[in-house]
Every structure is written in C-alpha cells, then in structure tokens.
C-alpha cells in the first residue's frame, strides 16, 4: 500500500486509538519508520495517550512515618469553628441587641452572607482564578479556532 504524508497524518488519531484495521495500521507504521515529518506529527498526536499512560504509573501510598507526622500536626491544630447558621445569627442579634442594633446586624449579616456564598469558595478564594486569568490573550485562540474551523476538543 502506498501512502502519502497527508493521508498518514489524517489517520493518526485512529492509528493511536487502535481503531484501525491491522493492514492499514501496518502501512502507517512502515511509513512512520521512513518519514521524519510524519514521526513528528505522530508524536504531537500522541500527547494525550502519553499523559494517560503516565497516569497508570503506580502512585506511592502515604508512609507510616508521614501518617504519624500528620497526626501530630493535627493534634497541635486549634479546633475548627462551626460556621454559624443564619437563623442562629438572627436569634443572637435579636436577643442581645437593642432593636435598632438588631436591624443593623441583620443587614450586615445578610450582606456578608451574600458575599461569602458559598462559604468554602470564600475560604478557598485561592489566587487560582486571578492567576489563571492573568496576562491572557483569552479570546485570540477562540477566534482563530473559529476562523480556521478548527474544533476545540471536548
């Protein structure tokens, strides 16, 4: 079977997935053995496969030594504070404060709850988002992809 580079490169995905009939696969393999350009293309295409292969590497388990250290660190850690429920806040405010102050507390607690929801997001307000967005020519790739008709995978 005679194959040209363009045909080979178009078929690389099926080749890597193993969804190609054996005869075709053998022809492509033979072509790859001969053609540096297609080898480079094949390596590019194989990225996801390589990442998946790496993910099958056995992960070490936490050692006993580490577990002992961890328990020690937890022992020294101050106990967590329960997040007070909204109802509880209101009751407390109502009981302890003069009506005017209670109204104030109500407003404050409602507005702070508004900004803090969901609570774990506020807590974890990691710089993740900022960092992810920094120096970001965000739309150029999308526009390019749209113009060239290239699909953004998955």
């Amino acid at each position: 079977m005679t194959l040209h580079c363009r045909q080979v490169q178009k078929a690389l995905r099926a080749f890597h997935d193993g969804t190609m009939p054996g005869e075709c696969a053998a022809a492509i393999e033979a072509h790859l053995g001969q053609c540096a350009g297609c080898r480079t293309a094949a390596r590019r295409q194989a990225l996801t496969k390589l990442l998946r292969a790496g993910s099958r590497a056995p992960a070490p388990a936490p050692s006993d030594f580490f577990m002992t250290r961890l328990r020690g660190a937890l022992q020294d850690c101050p106990p967590p504070q329960p997040a007070p429920a909204m109802a509880e806040l209101l009751v407390r405010a109502g009981l302890r404060l003069a009506p005017a102050m209670a109204a104030m507390a109500l407003i404050i607690s409602i507005s702070s709850a508004w900004f803090a929801a969901p609570a774990y997001n506020a807590l974890l307000a990691a710089p993740a988002e900022e960092l992810l967005l920094e120096d970001h020519p965000l739309s150029t790739d999308l526009i390019l992809a749209a113009l060239t008709g290239e699909t953004i995978e998955r």
Binding site: M20, A42, R43, R44, L51, L70, P80, A122, L133, D141
Partner: protein
C-alpha cells in the same frame, strides 16, 4: 455501623477530634494520589497533603454538605497544588530537557506503534517521567488543566468547578495547553531524532 463522612464532620464540629482522624484514614490515600499527579518528589507531596488536611480541618465549618467530602478535600488539594505550580513556574528554567535513550524508546512505543497500550508499570513510570518534564515547561495554568483533564480524566465541568472558573475558559486553556504541550513534546523528541531521511516519502 460505620459512620458516614457527614456524621464524622458533625462530630468533629461538636468537639470530637478523633472523628477527623477517621476522615483522614478514609481519604488520605486519594488525596495523596491526586497530589502525586502534580509533583514527583515524595517529600513535596507529603508537605502538600499535610497542608491540605490541616486547612481542611481548620475550615471544616465551611464544608457545605451538598457534595461529597472527598470532592471538597480534592478541591482544596488542587488549589494548593496550583499555587505551588504558579510559584515554581515563575522561577522555572526554560531549557528543554533531552530524553534518554530509554525514554525515547518508550515515547516511540506510544507514538509510532498502532494502538500501543502498555500495562507495564515500568513503561508507565517512564511515560510519567517524560510527561512530568514536559509539563514543567508549560505555564502553571496549562499544567493544571492538562493534569486535571488528560491525566485525572476530569470533564470540563468538573475541572471548571474545581478551579472555580468558567467552562468556556477551561476549554480555551485546554486547547492551548494541548497545542503547546504537543510542540514541546515534538521538540523534546526531535533532539534525539536520528539524522533524518527525506521529509516527503511515499512508502
């Protein structure tokens, strides 16, 4: 009867520290495995896992029980890893590491053989080693997204939720990261490419 995660969390909040040990026993391995996706150095993985669990303990009151506890833990771990990656990539060197002969062989096995799929743990370790170095050449956000999407196998939706950014943004970064990583991979392999024959050659 074995208490479920929510019960244990409630016990901890009511002052029973021991219940947190049970939560740790139950989930530490999965957190460990997740962090190991990002970093190879054992000491480093351990430090991050410990930080994650301490942070989880202290902020346990903020765990909203609408999703599984392990998801919450994994989210804390991922964001912790991300901060670490961002710090590292600021001081990263730019030189691309060349592949050893064995690595080149492994890479070619995956790239140049039809439907190659190796269950051999040693080959998987080599693949992991190659990808770790490959990823280190990318910006932190791209590493992050590739690890979550292509190594952990998370969906766009799950990744977006974990990183607390939009799904569209995840798609864009994934797309860019894959293209970027493909170029790096080809360049790494090219360093070892035997002097080439013709570029356009029908067989």
């Amino acid at each position: 009867m074995v208490p479920d995660d929510c019960t244990l969390v409630q016990n901890v909040l009511n002052g029973d520290k021991h219940s947190f040990d049970m939560l740790v026993e139950r989930h530490v391995t999965r957190v460990f495995q997740l962090v190991y996706r990002f970093f190879s150095n054992r000491q480093h993985v351990e430090d991050i896992v410990q930080d994650t669990l301490l942070q989880a303990y202290q902020s346990l009151g903020n765990y909203g029980q609408e999703r599984p506890f392990i998801h919450w833990l994994r989210t804390i771990a991922v964001r912790r890893c991300y901060r670490e990656l961002a710090l590292r990539s600021k001081r990263a060197e730019t030189a691309l590491p060349a592949l050893s002969g064995q690595e080149q062989e492994c890479l070619d096995h995956y790239c140049l053989q039809a439907g190659a799929r190796s269950e051999d743990p040693e080959a998987a370790l080599i693949a992991r080693d190659i990808t770790a170095r490959l990823l280190a050449a990318l910006p932190a956000r791209e590493q992050m997204v590739l690890i979550l999407r292509d190594v952990e196998g998370l969906s766009v939706r799950e990744t977006a939720r974990m990183m607390d950014i939009s799904q569209l943004h995840i798609k864009v970064v994934t797309h860019r990261a894959r293209r970027h990583a493909q170029t790096v991979l080809a360049a790494m392999a090219l360093g070892k490419e035997p002097h080439t024959r013709s570029q356009e050659q029908p067989v």
